[in-house]
Symmetry: C2
Subunit: 248 residues, 2 copies
Protein backbone atom coordinates (compact mmCIF):
# COMPACT_ATOMS: atom_id res chain seq x y z
CA UNK A 1 0.00 0.00 0.00
CA UNK A 2 1.32 3.43 -0.92
CA UNK A 3 2.49 5.76 1.83
CA UNK A 4 0.04 8.60 2.52
CA UNK A 5 1.47 12.14 2.77
CA UNK A 6 -0.65 14.96 4.12
CA UNK A 7 0.51 17.91 2.04
CA UNK A 8 -0.38 21.57 2.66
CA UNK A 9 -2.46 23.08 -0.16
CA UNK A 10 -3.85 26.40 -1.34
CA UNK A 11 -7.28 27.41 -2.65
CA UNK A 12 -6.11 25.58 -5.77
CA UNK A 13 -5.69 22.21 -4.13
CA UNK A 14 -2.85 21.36 -6.51
CA UNK A 15 -0.79 24.30 -5.21
CA UNK A 16 1.60 22.69 -2.70
CA UNK A 17 3.87 25.35 -1.21
CA UNK A 18 5.02 24.09 2.21
CA UNK A 19 8.85 23.90 2.46
CA UNK A 20 8.57 21.08 4.96
CA UNK A 21 6.19 19.05 2.80
CA UNK A 22 8.61 19.49 -0.13
CA UNK A 23 11.42 18.09 2.02
CA UNK A 24 9.26 15.05 2.77
CA UNK A 25 8.18 14.60 -0.88
CA UNK A 26 11.77 14.77 -2.13
CA UNK A 27 12.77 12.25 0.56
CA UNK A 28 10.03 9.83 -0.51
CA UNK A 29 10.95 10.24 -4.18
CA UNK A 30 14.68 9.84 -3.44
CA UNK A 31 13.97 6.47 -1.88
CA UNK A 32 11.72 5.47 -4.76
CA UNK A 33 8.78 4.83 -2.46
CA UNK A 34 5.21 4.91 -3.77
CA UNK A 35 3.17 7.62 -2.06
CA UNK A 36 -0.07 9.49 -2.47
CA UNK A 37 -0.61 13.02 -1.23
CA UNK A 38 -3.71 14.22 0.57
CA UNK A 39 -4.31 17.91 -0.16
CA UNK A 40 -4.60 19.50 3.28
CA UNK A 41 -5.53 23.13 3.97
CA UNK A 42 -4.27 24.72 7.21
CA UNK A 43 -7.74 24.36 8.71
CA UNK A 44 -7.79 20.69 7.74
CA UNK A 45 -4.71 19.68 9.76
CA UNK A 46 -6.74 19.18 12.95
CA UNK A 47 -8.81 16.58 11.10
CA UNK A 48 -5.84 14.23 10.61
CA UNK A 49 -5.81 11.10 12.78
CA UNK A 50 -6.38 11.82 16.46
CA UNK A 51 -6.45 15.56 15.81
CA UNK A 52 -3.46 16.55 17.97
CA UNK A 53 -1.14 17.43 15.07
CA UNK A 54 -0.66 21.15 14.45
CA UNK A 55 1.61 20.90 11.39
CA UNK A 56 2.20 18.88 8.24
CA UNK A 57 3.89 16.96 6.69
CA UNK A 58 2.57 13.81 8.28
CA UNK A 59 2.96 10.42 6.66
CA UNK A 60 1.03 7.23 7.27
CA UNK A 61 2.89 4.06 6.43
CA UNK A 62 1.07 0.81 7.15
CA UNK A 63 -0.51 2.11 10.33
CA UNK A 64 2.52 4.08 11.53
CA UNK A 65 2.10 7.85 11.60
CA UNK A 66 5.20 10.07 11.48
CA UNK A 67 5.12 13.88 11.73
CA UNK A 68 7.84 16.46 10.90
CA UNK A 69 9.91 16.38 7.71
CA UNK A 70 13.21 15.55 9.40
CA UNK A 71 11.62 12.79 11.51
CA UNK A 72 10.05 11.41 8.34
CA UNK A 73 13.46 11.28 6.61
CA UNK A 74 15.06 9.53 9.60
CA UNK A 75 12.11 7.12 9.79
CA UNK A 76 12.26 6.26 6.08
CA UNK A 77 16.01 5.57 6.15
CA UNK A 78 15.55 3.20 9.12
CA UNK A 79 12.40 1.53 7.75
CA UNK A 80 13.75 1.00 4.20
CA UNK A 81 17.48 0.31 4.57
CA UNK A 82 17.72 -1.26 1.10
CA UNK A 83 16.63 1.96 -0.66
CA UNK A 84 18.94 4.82 -1.73
CA UNK A 85 20.16 6.49 1.46
CA UNK A 86 19.04 9.99 2.44
CA UNK A 87 21.89 10.28 4.94
CA UNK A 88 24.14 7.25 4.64
CA UNK A 89 25.73 7.84 8.05
CA UNK A 90 24.96 9.34 11.44
CA UNK A 91 27.43 12.09 10.58
CA UNK A 92 25.24 13.15 7.69
CA UNK A 93 22.19 13.24 9.96
CA UNK A 94 24.02 15.82 12.10
CA UNK A 95 25.17 17.70 8.99
CA UNK A 96 21.59 17.83 7.70
CA UNK A 97 20.49 19.11 11.12
CA UNK A 98 23.00 21.92 10.81
CA UNK A 99 21.63 22.71 7.35
CA UNK A 100 18.10 22.66 8.80
CA UNK A 101 19.09 25.04 11.60
CA UNK A 102 20.95 27.37 9.26
CA UNK A 103 18.09 27.40 6.75
CA UNK A 104 15.55 28.13 9.46
CA UNK A 105 17.57 30.94 11.02
CA UNK A 106 19.30 32.53 8.03
CA UNK A 107 16.83 32.04 5.18
CA UNK A 108 13.30 31.50 6.46
CA UNK A 109 12.86 34.98 7.96
CA UNK A 110 13.83 36.48 4.59
CA UNK A 111 11.66 34.14 2.50
CA UNK A 112 8.73 34.61 4.89
CA UNK A 113 8.73 38.36 4.33
CA UNK A 114 8.78 37.76 0.58
CA UNK A 115 5.91 35.25 0.40
CA UNK A 116 3.67 35.75 3.42
CA UNK A 117 1.15 38.08 1.80
CA UNK A 118 1.13 36.06 -1.42
CA UNK A 119 0.59 32.80 0.46
CA UNK A 120 -2.39 34.42 2.16
CA UNK A 121 -3.85 35.43 -1.19
CA UNK A 122 -3.45 31.89 -2.54
CA UNK A 123 -5.34 30.26 0.34
CA UNK A 124 -9.00 29.26 0.59
CA UNK A 125 -11.40 31.50 2.54
CA UNK A 126 -11.22 29.74 5.94
CA UNK A 127 -7.45 29.39 5.68
CA UNK A 128 -7.08 33.10 4.90
CA UNK A 129 -8.80 34.03 8.17
CA UNK A 130 -6.66 31.58 10.19
CA UNK A 131 -3.45 32.59 8.40
CA UNK A 132 -3.90 36.35 8.77
CA UNK A 133 -4.80 36.10 12.46
CA UNK A 134 -2.01 33.70 13.41
CA UNK A 135 0.73 35.43 11.37
CA UNK A 136 -0.19 38.97 12.34
CA UNK A 137 -0.16 37.85 15.98
CA UNK A 138 3.24 36.20 15.52
CA UNK A 139 4.90 39.08 13.68
CA UNK A 140 3.04 41.94 15.37
CA UNK A 141 2.34 43.58 12.00
CA UNK A 142 -0.22 43.52 9.20
CA UNK A 143 0.62 41.13 6.35
CA UNK A 144 0.65 44.15 4.02
CA UNK A 145 3.33 45.88 6.13
CA UNK A 146 5.54 42.77 6.13
CA UNK A 147 5.12 42.52 2.36
CA UNK A 148 6.41 46.07 1.86
CA UNK A 149 9.92 44.84 2.75
CA UNK A 150 10.17 42.45 -0.21
CA UNK A 151 12.75 44.29 -2.38
CA UNK A 152 15.31 44.58 0.44
CA UNK A 153 14.63 40.97 1.43
CA UNK A 154 15.49 39.86 -2.10
CA UNK A 155 19.02 41.31 -1.90
CA UNK A 156 19.48 39.85 1.59
CA UNK A 157 18.18 36.50 0.35
CA UNK A 158 20.76 36.41 -2.42
CA UNK A 159 23.58 37.31 -0.01
CA UNK A 160 22.37 34.83 2.61
CA UNK A 161 22.98 31.99 0.15
CA UNK A 162 26.73 32.74 0.03
CA UNK A 163 27.80 29.69 2.13
CA UNK A 164 25.83 27.46 -0.26
CA UNK A 165 27.35 29.24 -3.25
CA UNK A 166 30.89 28.58 -1.96
CA UNK A 167 30.14 24.89 -1.36
CA UNK A 168 28.69 24.47 -4.84
CA UNK A 169 31.88 25.78 -6.48
CA UNK A 170 33.47 22.54 -5.22
CA UNK A 171 30.64 20.02 -5.15
CA UNK A 172 27.74 19.25 -7.47
CA UNK A 173 25.41 18.72 -4.54
CA UNK A 174 25.42 19.81 -0.90
CA UNK A 175 25.56 16.08 -0.22
CA UNK A 176 28.70 15.76 -2.40
CA UNK A 177 28.60 13.52 -5.50
CA UNK A 178 24.84 12.91 -5.23
CA UNK A 179 21.92 14.63 -3.53
CA UNK A 180 21.25 13.87 0.13
CA UNK A 181 18.62 15.03 2.58
CA UNK A 182 20.69 18.17 3.27
CA UNK A 183 20.02 19.16 -0.37
CA UNK A 184 16.28 18.61 0.09
CA UNK A 185 16.28 20.69 3.28
CA UNK A 186 17.46 23.77 1.40
CA UNK A 187 15.55 22.85 -1.76
CA UNK A 188 12.28 22.62 0.18
CA UNK A 189 12.81 26.13 1.53
CA UNK A 190 13.42 27.46 -1.98
CA UNK A 191 10.37 25.62 -3.36
CA UNK A 192 8.33 27.68 -0.89
CA UNK A 193 9.42 30.74 -2.86
CA UNK A 194 9.13 29.10 -6.30
CA UNK A 195 5.64 27.71 -5.82
CA UNK A 196 4.38 31.12 -4.62
CA UNK A 197 6.35 33.47 -6.93
CA UNK A 198 6.86 31.16 -9.93
CA UNK A 199 10.66 31.51 -9.90
CA UNK A 200 13.64 32.40 -7.70
CA UNK A 201 15.38 35.80 -7.77
CA UNK A 202 18.72 34.25 -8.84
CA UNK A 203 20.69 34.96 -12.02
CA UNK A 204 21.49 32.14 -14.47
CA UNK A 205 25.25 32.32 -13.80
CA UNK A 206 24.71 31.76 -10.06
CA UNK A 207 25.86 28.32 -8.90
CA UNK A 208 22.85 28.15 -6.60
CA UNK A 209 20.61 28.61 -9.63
CA UNK A 210 22.33 25.70 -11.42
CA UNK A 211 21.96 23.47 -8.38
CA UNK A 212 18.30 24.46 -7.99
CA UNK A 213 17.66 23.56 -11.63
CA UNK A 214 19.31 20.16 -11.09
CA UNK A 215 17.01 19.62 -8.10
CA UNK A 216 13.98 20.58 -10.20
CA UNK A 217 14.98 17.90 -12.72
CA UNK A 218 15.22 15.10 -10.16
CA UNK A 219 12.65 12.29 -10.17
CA UNK A 220 11.28 13.11 -13.64
CA UNK A 221 10.79 16.77 -12.81
CA UNK A 222 8.66 16.14 -9.71
CA UNK A 223 9.22 19.67 -8.42
CA UNK A 224 9.55 21.38 -11.82
CA UNK A 225 6.11 20.18 -12.84
CA UNK A 226 4.44 21.28 -9.61
CA UNK A 227 1.83 24.03 -10.09
CA UNK A 228 2.80 27.53 -8.92
CA UNK A 229 0.69 30.45 -7.79
CA UNK A 230 2.35 32.62 -10.46
CA UNK A 231 3.42 31.43 -13.91
CA UNK A 232 7.19 30.89 -14.41
CA UNK A 233 8.79 34.03 -15.87
CA UNK A 234 10.03 32.26 -18.97
CA UNK A 235 6.46 31.32 -19.87
CA UNK A 236 4.62 34.55 -19.14
CA UNK A 237 6.04 37.30 -16.89
CA UNK A 238 3.45 38.45 -14.38
CA UNK A 239 3.99 42.10 -15.28
CA UNK A 240 3.68 41.42 -19.01
CA UNK A 241 0.49 39.45 -18.41
CA UNK A 242 -0.96 42.37 -16.50
CA UNK A 243 0.19 44.67 -19.31
CA UNK A 244 -1.70 42.64 -21.88
CA UNK A 245 -4.87 42.75 -19.82
CA UNK A 246 -4.53 46.50 -19.30
CA UNK A 247 -4.18 46.98 -23.05
CA UNK A 248 -7.47 45.30 -23.84
Amino acid sequence: MAIILYDLCGRNRELRFSPYCWRAKMALAHMGLAYETVATPYTGISGIGDGVAKTVPIIEDEGRRVQDSFEIAVYLEAAYPDRPALFGSESMVAAARFMEGWTFLALHPLILRMVLKDIHDALGDSDQIYFRQSRELRFGRKLEEIHAGVPSSTASFQRALDPVRRTLTMHEWLGGPSPRFCDYVLFGSLMWLRTIHGSLPLVQADGVHGWFERCLDLFDGLARNAPTAAPPEDVMPATAARGVLADR
Copy 2:
Protein backbone atom coordinates in the same frame (compact mmCIF):
# COMPACT_ATOMS: atom_id res chain seq x y z
CA MET B 1 59.58 10.63 10.17
CA ALA B 2 57.14 12.97 11.84
CA ILE B 3 55.03 15.29 9.69
CA ILE B 4 56.20 18.92 9.84
CA LEU B 5 53.51 21.59 10.41
CA TYR B 6 54.34 25.25 9.89
CA ASP B 7 52.25 26.93 12.57
CA LEU B 8 51.66 30.68 12.91
CA CYS B 9 53.13 32.12 16.13
CA GLY B 10 53.23 35.34 18.15
CA ARG B 11 56.07 37.22 19.86
CA ASN B 12 55.82 34.37 22.36
CA ARG B 13 56.64 31.60 19.91
CA GLU B 14 54.44 29.18 21.88
CA LEU B 15 51.38 31.34 21.22
CA ARG B 16 49.66 29.62 18.27
CA PHE B 17 46.48 31.49 17.38
CA SER B 18 45.72 30.78 13.69
CA PRO B 19 42.25 29.22 13.21
CA TYR B 20 43.45 27.41 10.10
CA CYS B 21 46.53 25.98 11.85
CA TRP B 22 44.27 24.75 14.65
CA ARG B 23 42.10 22.95 12.11
CA ALA B 24 45.22 21.24 10.73
CA LYS B 25 46.55 20.35 14.20
CA MET B 26 43.25 18.82 15.26
CA ALA B 27 43.14 16.86 12.00
CA LEU B 28 46.65 15.47 12.58
CA ALA B 29 45.82 14.59 16.18
CA HIS B 30 42.48 13.01 15.19
CA MET B 31 44.35 10.65 12.88
CA GLY B 32 46.94 9.90 15.53
CA LEU B 33 49.79 11.02 13.30
CA ALA B 34 53.12 12.11 14.76
CA TYR B 35 53.88 15.73 13.89
CA GLU B 36 56.18 18.53 14.91
CA THR B 37 55.29 22.17 14.60
CA VAL B 38 57.62 24.87 13.31
CA ALA B 39 56.82 28.21 14.95
CA THR B 40 56.30 30.59 12.02
CA PRO B 41 55.76 34.35 12.30
CA TYR B 42 53.83 36.10 9.49
CA THR B 43 57.10 37.46 8.13
CA GLY B 44 58.60 33.97 8.17
CA ILE B 45 56.03 32.39 5.80
CA SER B 46 57.93 33.49 2.68
CA GLY B 47 60.91 31.50 3.96
CA ILE B 48 59.09 28.16 3.70
CA GLY B 49 60.14 25.89 0.82
CA ASP B 50 60.21 27.65 -2.53
CA GLY B 51 58.90 30.85 -0.97
CA VAL B 52 55.66 31.15 -2.96
CA ALA B 53 53.31 30.33 -0.08
CA LYS B 54 51.49 33.31 1.43
CA THR B 55 49.64 31.48 4.20
CA VAL B 56 50.01 28.69 6.72
CA PRO B 57 49.25 25.94 7.66
CA ILE B 58 51.62 24.02 5.43
CA ILE B 59 52.61 20.43 6.14
CA GLU B 60 55.57 18.47 4.86
CA ASP B 61 55.08 14.74 4.81
CA GLU B 62 57.97 12.71 3.40
CA GLY B 63 58.76 15.23 0.71
CA ARG B 64 55.18 16.16 -0.11
CA ARG B 65 54.13 19.70 0.77
CA VAL B 66 50.43 20.48 1.27
CA GLN B 67 49.04 23.96 1.97
CA ASP B 68 45.60 25.02 3.27
CA SER B 69 43.88 23.38 6.22
CA PHE B 70 41.07 21.82 4.22
CA GLU B 71 43.47 20.47 1.59
CA ILE B 72 45.58 19.05 4.40
CA ALA B 73 42.58 17.22 5.86
CA VAL B 74 41.63 15.79 2.46
CA TYR B 75 45.25 14.79 1.84
CA LEU B 76 45.61 13.07 5.21
CA GLU B 77 42.40 11.06 4.78
CA ALA B 78 43.59 9.85 1.36
CA ALA B 79 47.20 9.20 2.43
CA TYR B 80 46.33 7.35 5.66
CA PRO B 81 43.12 5.41 4.94
CA ASP B 82 43.66 3.07 7.91
CA ARG B 83 43.54 5.91 10.44
CA PRO B 84 40.37 7.33 12.08
CA ALA B 85 38.45 9.14 9.33
CA LEU B 86 38.11 12.92 9.31
CA PHE B 87 35.23 12.72 6.82
CA GLY B 88 34.34 9.08 6.26
CA SER B 89 32.48 9.86 3.02
CA GLU B 90 32.47 12.32 0.14
CA SER B 91 29.17 13.61 1.52
CA MET B 92 30.94 14.67 4.69
CA VAL B 93 33.61 16.48 2.66
CA ALA B 94 30.84 18.60 1.13
CA ALA B 95 29.22 19.08 4.54
CA ALA B 96 32.54 20.25 6.01
CA ARG B 97 32.91 22.65 3.07
CA PHE B 98 29.53 24.13 3.93
CA MET B 99 30.67 24.49 7.54
CA GLU B 100 33.86 26.15 6.31
CA GLY B 101 31.92 28.58 4.12
CA TRP B 102 29.43 29.39 6.87
CA THR B 103 32.18 29.88 9.45
CA PHE B 104 34.13 32.16 7.12
CA LEU B 105 31.11 34.29 6.22
CA ALA B 106 29.06 34.31 9.40
CA LEU B 107 31.67 34.10 12.17
CA HIS B 108 35.07 35.30 10.98
CA PRO B 109 34.09 38.94 10.40
CA LEU B 110 32.78 39.07 14.00
CA ILE B 111 35.77 37.31 15.55
CA LEU B 112 38.19 39.41 13.50
CA ARG B 113 36.81 42.63 14.96
CA MET B 114 37.16 41.15 18.44
CA VAL B 115 40.76 39.97 18.15
CA LEU B 116 42.50 42.01 15.47
CA LYS B 117 44.03 44.64 17.75
CA ASP B 118 44.96 42.04 20.37
CA ILE B 119 46.61 39.81 17.77
CA HIS B 120 48.66 42.79 16.68
CA ASP B 121 49.78 43.41 20.24
CA ALA B 122 50.83 39.77 20.65
CA LEU B 123 53.06 39.74 17.55
CA GLY B 124 56.79 40.29 17.24
CA ASP B 125 58.07 43.67 16.03
CA SER B 126 58.43 42.89 12.31
CA ASP B 127 55.07 41.08 12.28
CA GLN B 128 53.39 44.07 13.94
CA ILE B 129 54.45 46.34 11.09
CA TYR B 130 53.30 43.85 8.43
CA PHE B 131 50.04 43.08 10.24
CA ARG B 132 49.01 46.71 10.83
CA GLN B 133 49.76 47.74 7.24
CA SER B 134 48.04 44.78 5.57
CA ARG B 135 44.96 44.77 7.82
CA GLU B 136 44.41 48.53 7.82
CA LEU B 137 44.63 48.42 4.03
CA ARG B 138 42.13 45.53 3.88
CA PHE B 139 39.59 47.02 6.30
CA GLY B 140 40.16 50.70 5.45
CA ARG B 141 40.32 51.60 9.15
CA LYS B 142 42.87 51.82 11.97
CA LEU B 143 43.12 48.65 14.10
CA GLU B 144 42.07 50.76 17.10
CA GLU B 145 38.83 51.81 15.35
CA ILE B 146 37.97 48.21 14.47
CA HIS B 147 38.63 47.21 18.09
CA ALA B 148 36.12 49.78 19.37
CA GLY B 149 33.30 47.58 18.04
CA VAL B 150 34.10 44.62 20.32
CA PRO B 151 31.10 44.75 22.72
CA SER B 152 28.52 44.73 19.91
CA SER B 153 30.49 42.02 18.11
CA THR B 154 30.28 39.83 21.22
CA ALA B 155 26.47 39.84 21.19
CA SER B 156 26.43 39.21 17.43
CA PHE B 157 28.96 36.41 17.88
CA GLN B 158 26.75 34.66 20.42
CA ARG B 159 23.69 34.99 18.17
CA ALA B 160 25.61 33.88 15.08
CA LEU B 161 26.24 30.51 16.73
CA ASP B 162 22.51 29.72 16.84
CA PRO B 163 22.57 27.12 14.02
CA VAL B 164 25.36 25.30 15.88
CA ARG B 165 23.42 25.57 19.13
CA ARG B 166 20.35 23.95 17.55
CA THR B 167 22.40 21.10 16.10
CA LEU B 168 24.07 20.40 19.44
CA THR B 169 20.70 19.95 21.17
CA MET B 170 20.40 16.78 19.10
CA HIS B 171 23.98 15.62 18.54
CA GLU B 172 27.05 15.47 20.75
CA TRP B 173 29.27 16.59 17.89
CA LEU B 174 28.66 18.46 14.64
CA GLY B 175 29.92 15.23 13.05
CA GLY B 176 27.24 13.23 14.93
CA PRO B 177 28.34 10.50 17.38
CA SER B 178 32.03 11.45 17.15
CA PRO B 179 34.00 14.52 16.07
CA ARG B 180 34.72 14.99 12.39
CA PHE B 181 36.59 17.62 10.42
CA CYS B 182 33.45 19.81 10.41
CA ASP B 183 33.88 20.05 14.22
CA TYR B 184 37.51 21.10 13.83
CA VAL B 185 36.57 23.74 11.25
CA LEU B 186 34.42 25.58 13.78
CA PHE B 187 36.67 24.70 16.70
CA GLY B 188 39.69 26.22 14.93
CA SER B 189 37.80 29.47 14.47
CA LEU B 190 36.90 29.57 18.15
CA MET B 191 40.48 28.74 19.19
CA TRP B 192 41.46 31.96 17.43
CA LEU B 193 39.40 33.80 20.02
CA ARG B 194 40.44 31.61 22.95
CA THR B 195 44.17 31.81 22.33
CA ILE B 196 43.99 35.61 22.08
CA HIS B 197 41.38 36.39 24.79
CA GLY B 198 41.94 33.41 27.09
CA SER B 199 38.30 32.29 26.96
CA LEU B 200 35.10 32.50 24.89
CA PRO B 201 32.20 34.84 25.71
CA LEU B 202 29.75 31.95 26.20
CA VAL B 203 27.81 31.04 29.35
CA GLN B 204 28.26 27.63 30.99
CA ALA B 205 24.69 26.53 30.19
CA ASP B 206 25.24 27.14 26.47
CA GLY B 207 25.41 23.93 24.43
CA VAL B 208 28.15 25.48 22.33
CA HIS B 209 30.20 26.00 25.49
CA GLY B 210 29.79 22.32 26.41
CA TRP B 211 30.82 21.21 22.94
CA PHE B 212 33.82 23.57 22.99
CA GLU B 213 34.93 22.11 26.33
CA ARG B 214 34.67 18.60 24.88
CA CYS B 215 36.85 19.71 21.98
CA LEU B 216 39.39 21.20 24.41
CA ASP B 217 39.59 17.82 26.14
CA LEU B 218 40.32 15.86 22.95
CA PHE B 219 43.75 14.32 22.41
CA ASP B 220 44.88 14.71 26.02
CA GLY B 221 43.91 18.37 26.16
CA LEU B 222 45.96 19.37 23.10
CA ALA B 223 44.05 22.63 22.70
CA ARG B 224 43.25 23.20 26.38
CA ASN B 225 46.94 23.18 27.26
CA ALA B 226 47.90 25.59 24.49
CA PRO B 227 49.30 28.92 25.76
CA THR B 228 47.01 31.93 25.45
CA ALA B 229 47.79 35.64 25.20
CA ALA B 230 45.56 36.24 28.24
CA PRO B 231 45.12 33.87 31.22
CA PRO B 232 41.86 31.84 31.30
CA GLU B 233 39.24 33.59 33.41
CA ASP B 234 38.75 30.65 35.75
CA VAL B 235 42.43 30.77 36.72
CA MET B 236 42.91 34.49 37.22
CA PRO B 237 40.56 37.09 35.77
CA ALA B 238 42.54 39.86 34.09
CA THR B 239 40.64 42.57 35.97
CA ALA B 240 41.12 40.88 39.36
CA ALA B 241 44.81 40.43 38.66
CA ARG B 242 45.11 44.09 37.92
CA GLY B 243 43.16 44.85 41.09
CA VAL B 244 45.57 42.82 43.22
CA LEU B 245 48.54 44.62 41.78
CA ALA B 246 46.89 48.01 42.34
CA ASP B 247 46.30 47.12 46.02
CA ARG B 248 49.94 46.46 46.70
